[in-house]
């Protein structure tokens, strides 16, 4: 794929609609010839980012807007909501710690963005009282011949 292409998708904030975004991302990543494991990583990253928007944005339009940018060596996706913005304690998960479990390292909630950061190459978050945009880049791994 030599040119840059853009794909737009809007999903309502209903349970399991994150799968529509994940399926779209999967199709695009496969078309771009990403490796199977990377396709799964992209799916999981987009699921976690959408769930964060569903849970925290409180947007009036009740929708998540996704922009996929396809280029030669990377897939970028921007996940946008028009909600109230997210605060640092949501970003790092500390607000959702809740009652500590038996093992402090087994935190049950607030790990979504940590998963996204660990699986993707770049993650950038812009948030204000007008909404949040999470920009994510996944580069294709270099295959050995």
């Amino acid at each position: 794929m030599s040119l840059e292409h853009k794909v737009l998708l809007t999903i309502p904030m209903y349970p399991d609609m994150e799968l529509a975004a994940a399926k779209t991302a999967s199709v695009l990543a496969e078309l771009m010839d990403f490796e199977e494991g990377q396709v799964e990583e992209i799916q999981l990253a987009i699921i976690e980012t959408c769930i964060n928007a569903f849970e925290h944005s409180q947007s009036d339009d009740n929708a998540v807007h996704i922009e996929f940018l396809l280029s030669e060596d990377q897939l970028q996706f921007k996940i946008m909501d028009r909600g109230i913005g997210i605060t640092p304690d949501i970003l790092d998960g500390s607000r959702l710690l809740g009652t500590p479990g038996v093992h402090p390292d087994l935190r049950k909630r607030g790990r979504g963005l940590q998963i996204v950061r660990s699986l993707m190459d770049e993650v950038d978050i812009e948030s204000s009282s007008n909404g949040t945009t999470v920009s994510v880049i996944k580069r294709k791994s270099r295959r050995t011949a």
Partner: protein, 114 residues
């Protein structure tokens, strides 16, 4: 054969295997949690969760797996996972599940190492 979203239980004499299929989110996770708690209450404290046909696991699904680990620890039980994809295994290790539950490539080795 498992349905798209399904749970199957296989009970042995000293262990039980729970196999899930589909997207492990809050809905399937709650079904899984319910089955695991039933097994634990019936004395099965050696459990294997086979995720071979579980296509995706989100962080809410993982939080429910953590609850099962904690429930088993209260009964001094053991939990082993098997059938994870490379991405799932990486996520489990990052979220520290691998410290408190075993991860094995297949059901046979997961049962053997309970």
């Amino acid at each position: 054969m498992l349905n798209k979203f399904d749970i199957q239980i296989r009970e042995g004499q000293e262990h039980a295997v729970i196999e899930t299929a589909g997207y492990l989110n809050d809905a399937l996770g709650e079904k899984l949690s319910e089955k695991a708690r039933e097994l634990i209450q019936n004395g099965h404290t050696q459990l294997v969760i086979n995720l071979e046909q579980t296509t995706l696991i989100n962080s809410i699904g993982i939080s429910i797996l953590i609850e099962i680990i904690e429930a088993l620890e209260e009964r001094e039980g053991t939990l082993n996972f098997c059938g994870l994809s490379a991405t799932q295994e990486r996520t489990f290790r990052m979220m520290a599940l691998a410290k408190y539950a075993g991860i094995y490539p297949d059901e046979e080795s997961a049962i053997a190492n309970l």
